[in-house]
Structures are given as C-alpha cells and as structure tokens.
C-alpha cells in the first residue's frame, strides 16, 4: 500500500471516529510531514462536511413530510426537531461565517444600531416613486413606531430595521411593523433581506403563513384572498403554515392557500433524467392510491381534446389519459406519446375518479419537456392548472365555472410564477409539483378535476400545452 493510500485510509477512519491510538499517531505524522497530505485531508473532509449538510437537509425535508406536530409528541422526536432547528440556525450562521456576508453589519457598533427614539422600531429607507395611501406622506429617514401600518398604492418603499434587516415593499402593499423583529404583510409583495446575525429570526407573517428568517433574502407575497407565496432568493427560511414547518433554501418556493385545509404547494426543478429526482418531492410512484396497478382509479378527459395535431405523425400525438397513472414519468425530454397534453392553445380538463371518497394527503404532478434541437424551448414544461375536488357520488358538470357547479377549489398552480420565468431559459425543463396540507389532509374527495391551461410565455399559439407525465395521489380510505 502506498503512503497516499494509507493516508486516505487513516483520514477515512478519522472522519468516522474509529482511529486507534496507534493509527492516530500515524495519521498525525503524515499530516505534519506533508503539505500534500493536508491538501488531501481537506479535500476528503469537505465531502464529509457536505454529506452531513446534505443529511441535515434531507432530515428537514423528511420532517416536513411527517404528520403535523399535534400528532407527534414523543420526547425523542422533539429532541430531533430541536437539534434540527438548531442545526439549521447554525448552518445559516456558519454560512455567514464562511462567506463573510454579515461583515458589514457586525462591524457596526451597538449604539449605531439602536433606535433613535423611544417606540421607534424601524425607519424608512430609500423611497422610489411611492404613492402613499393616506394624508401623511413619510420621507426617507422618518421613524416607524411599533404597530404602525405602512400602506402604499404604488412604487417601492424600503424599511430598515435596527438588526440590519431591510424590507422593500412593492406597491400596492399593506404592511404592519409589529416590532423590531416581527412584521405582518396584509397585502402585496415584499423583498426581505435579513442576512445579519442579529436579524436571524426576523419574521414576516401573512394571513396563512409565517416566514422566519434563517439568514437570507426572501420574497413574500400576500394576495387579497389570503394566498401567500414565499420564495428564497438566497439562504434559508422556515415557513410555518398551521402546525407544519417547511424549510426552504435558495431557489425554493412555497405557496399557501387560504382556507381550513391550509394547502401548501411546492414546486421543484427535477434532475432532467427519466428518474425524475427532485430535492424534496419524491419521483413518480407506482404505489400511490391512484396508480393503475392499484386498480382503484379511473382517469378521463372531461373537457377539451388531447393533441393529435398531425394525423400523419402518430409519434407526435399525446398519449391517452391513462399515461398519467402508469407509475412513471416520461422516458426522455421530448416524448409526446409518453405524455398527456391537450390540443394547442385550448383549455382542457382531466377528471380522476378514485372509486370512493378517500382522505387525500398529497397530490404530485410531473412534467418534462425540452426540445431536442432548441434547448431553450421548454414551453411544455410549465405546470399551470387549478385543481378541484368533489366528494359526492356523481361529479358536477364541467361545462361552466367549476366552483359554481359544486367543485371545491383545492389549489392553483402556476410554475412560471413560482420560478419567476422572465426568459425562456428560466423555465426548468423538468418540474414536480407537490400539493399537500399543513393539517395533514387536503380533504376527503372521490373526484379530482384538473383544469389545465396552456403556456402563455412566450406567446406561442401552437405547441404550447404542457407534457404531463404522471399524476400521483396519496390517499387513505
């Protein structure tokens, strides 16, 4: 065995904590003697550290998939949760340490950071073309009292907090400054930067979610009907919806619907292989309740027609609706027959009959499209639909607005909005969407109805319907 091989073996044993005393002495000799061995050590240690980071991330994501807190009270679980929360904070802190992001703020002295007036917990920063709602028009530098509401009709208003956190409101917006660390977004959009050590824990609440900063830059949006959307630009946040917590990292987005079910929509970019691997969403499954192998569910086209644009080219036709329950996604990036898609530029509806009323825990949908020659053409990857449910024996008609006919709206999905698609390449070619609930169940339904819409960006009128590869429904009788 060469000395390098031996050094590798010893470093491995050190990383696993199983060195004997003699082996430790031998490793110390290697490391003291050779710069190359020290290089090797750090190269191996870095993979070890990243693996642990990955493991913690996985653990957090698995925790998200577990039942809500109300049903888990064991001390072991609580310990693990605490450990995880602490690790999350520490990871954020460690990231700050390593990249020096917080340096500017850490250099500021405490007296510089303190509010200038009693009761003042923040102040206005730069104000760009702001049109205020109300008579009083604040100016840059004005203090904001605890509990003060800030309303703007248009423009952008920045609010600076003593911790170093900043919130930029994009009008129209209604925003309450509760304290130095706690705020409430009633309506509109904001961009929060809370990347200083003192701003760890900075919180933005909405009607349906609470976003806790873990050293990050994130966006939050609250719509008039109570829908909340959170996206992480950099770093990590913890989003609480009901009793469920979700750890979001750079690039992650989460949508929380209003209502008792507290529906959470998560959309992720896949690895663009037939394995359909996603950061947290599971790959297409053949073991879900609705899968064809289970023999319980039946899927049909309830409205519209599946694409068969070129009668002479069957290979360009959509597959039948049953493809969505076949337990796998597409076999390649541009596989019409392996996909289900509607005729160009039309709306369509897909109806799933689960056979009986069941308690639905989660619904995943998968899409994949990238033109073989034009890599920026991923038009058919976007997921854009409204999902409805119905618990009765016979599904309501679908020729008018579904809700008026008795369908219950479960979720609205628009992955282009999630990914902030501003150019063609922004759109991930493979996408997974997971709809779940903070309460653990989306509700009890027999029928599910997807009202799907074509892609509108760029504004193509042809070949613009999404290639869906699989619908999975996780449910219990």
């Amino acid at each position: 065995m060469s000395s390098e091989q031996r050094a590798i073996e010893l470093i491995d044993r050190h990383l696993d904590g199983v060195l004997t005393v003699d082996e430790a002495a031998e490793l110390n000799r290697y490391l003291a003697a050779s710069n190359g061995t020290r290089d090797l050590f750090w190269s191996m240690a870095r993979v070890h550290a990243r693996l642990r980071q990955w493991g913690e991330q996985q653990l957090g994501e698995r925790r998200d998939a577990e039942p809500p807190a109300g049903s888990i009270a064991g001390p072991q679980h609580r310990t693990r949760l605490w450990s995880l929360r602490r690790w999350t904070l520490l990871t954020a802190a460690a990231a700050l340490l390593l990249v020096g992001v917080g340096i500017h703020f850490w250099q500021r002295r405490a007296d510089e950071l303190a509010p200038v007036k009693p009761g003042v917990v923040a102040s206005f920063g730069p104000l760009e073309r702001v049109r205020w709602v109300g008579v009083k028009e604040p100016r840059e530098g004005d203090g904001i009292q605890a509990g003060q509401r800030v309303e703007i009709a248009s423009g952008r208003a920045r609010i600076d907090f003593p911790s170093g956190a900043t919130v930029t409101l994009v009008g129209p917006a209604v925003f309450d400054v509760g304290s130095e660390t706690s705020t409430y977004l009633e309506l509109g959009q904001l961009l929060a930067k809370a990347d200083t050590p003192r701003s760890l824990g900075f919180t933005v609440r909405t009607r349906t979610a609470r976003v806790i900063d873990l050293g990050t830059e994130f966006t939050a949006e609250a719509t008039a009907d109570g829908q909340s959307r959170v996206g992480v630009v950099a770093g990590a946040v913890e989003v609480t919806a009901g009793d469920a917590r979700h750890l979001l990292r750079t690039g992650d987005q989460l949508l929380v619907e209003p209502g008792a079910s507290q529906v959470v929509v998560r959309i992720e970019r896949g690895d663009e292989t037939p394995a359909f691997r996603f950061p947290t969403i599971e790959p297409p499954s053949d073991r879900d309740y609705a899968d064809a192998r289970q023999g319980r569910a039946k899927i049909t086209v309830a409205k519209g027609i599946l694409a068969k644009a070129n009668r002479d080219l069957p290979e360009s036709w959509s597959g039948p609706a049953e493809v969505l329950l076949d337990g796998h996604g597409q076999r390649n990036q541009d596989a019409p027959n392996d996909s289900v898609f509607f005729a160009s530029n039309t709306d369509g509806m897909v109806l799933l009959d689960l056979g009986s009323v069941v308690s639905i825990e989660k619904i995943n949908t998968y899409s994949w499209h990238q033109n073989r020659r034009n890599t920026d053409n991923r038009l058919r990857a976007q997921q854009s639909y409204v999902l409805y449910g119905f618990a009765g024996a016979t599904p309501p008609p679908v020729d008018g607005p579904p809700e008026a006919a008795g369908w219950v709206q479960i979720a609205r999905v628009n992955s282009d909005e999630f990914f902030g698609v501003a150019s063609r390449l922004d759109r991930p070619a493979q996408q997974g969407c997971s709809i779940s609930s903070a309460t653990g169940t989306l509700g009890r339904y027999r029928y599910l109805l997807w009202e799907v819409k074509p892609s509108r960006f760029p504004d193509f009128k042809i070949l613009n319907h999404t290639f869906y590869g699989e619908f999975d429904v996780y449910a219990k009788p």
Binding site: D12, H14, D39, F41, W54, A93, L97, W106, P197
Partner: protein
C-alpha cells in the same frame, strides 16, 4: 472545519453554537480590513480545541499541533461561494451511487449513526461499513470535483 476536527456530529453541533454566540458577541471587536473568515475560523478552531480538552483523553484523534497546521492550510476555509454549488453537485452525485452504498451514506449522514450502528442496522460487519463509506466518499469526491470543474469551464 469543525467537522474535520471533531468527527462526532453532536460535538460539532455544540461547537458551532458556541462559535456563533462568540462571533455575535465579539462582532464589534473585529478589525476592519482584516480577514473576517479567518477570524471566524479561528474562533471555531479554539472552541473545537476547548471542547476536546473538556472531554479529556484524545489520544486517538488529531494532535493540537496538527490541527493548528491544518487550520493554517489555505484549503481550511474553502472557497467563498462554493458551498452551495458543492452541495448541489453532491446531490446529483449521490443519485449515481449504488442503492446499498446510498443506504450506508444515509444512515451515516442523514440519520447521524456511527459506523458500528450502521453495521448493526444493516447486518453487515463494521469493516464492511468502513469500506463502503470510504469508497462512497471517494466516488462522491471525484464526482463533485468533476461536476465543479465542468461547471467552472462552462461559466
């Protein structure tokens, strides 16, 4: 850095927490125009050494002199901004591992078990686990390096 000095995951957790608190408390003492990452790294190293001392015997670990030399090495703090990219590359590389190797990695790094416990759970010998961990990490290291250099070349 701390994970490299202290292979015990729970010890690392404690040390990082202490480090974070210290850095937050002493932020005003940090001198502008000096290397912030190195300063924070020094705080972490001192806490790691302190933790070891409090635990008593560490004859089967790295010596303090070697730890000092390792921490003085240019690679100790890594390259700024690489962490997220490395993690993303690692995620892709893990998908290429054989199922059994992946299971071993999951038990070790996701569940946080020591190799002996991983062996017990899988019904393998401890030596087999050491080998599996070593080979898996080597494969992952090579894969991450390859992906990082490909990414670098395409930028």
């Amino acid at each position: 850095m701390v994970l490299a000095i202290l292979p015990d995951f729970s010890a690392v957790d404690d040390v990082l927490q202490e480090t974070f608190l210290t850095v937050s408390r002493k932020a005003a003492d940090f001198l502008p125009d000096t290397n912030f990452a190195a300063w924070a790294g020094t705080v972490a190293r001192l806490h790691a050494l302190d933790w070891r001392r409090k635990q008593g015997r560490w004859a089967n670990g790295l010596s303090e002199a070697v730890i000092e030399r390792l921490c003085a090495h240019p690679a100790a703090l890594g390259e700024p901004g690489h962490a997220d990219r490395e993690l993303a590359a690692l995620g892709q590389c893990l998908a290429e591992l054989a199922p059994q190797a992946r299971r071993v990695i999951e038990l070790r790094y996701r569940e946080g078990h020591k190799p002996a416990e991983v062996a017990r759970r899988l019904g393998w010998t401890a030596e087999a686990i050491y080998v599996a961990l070593s080979r898996s990490r080597a494969a992952l290291r090579s894969c991450v390096d390859r992906r990082m250099s490909l990414e670098g070349a395409s930028r």
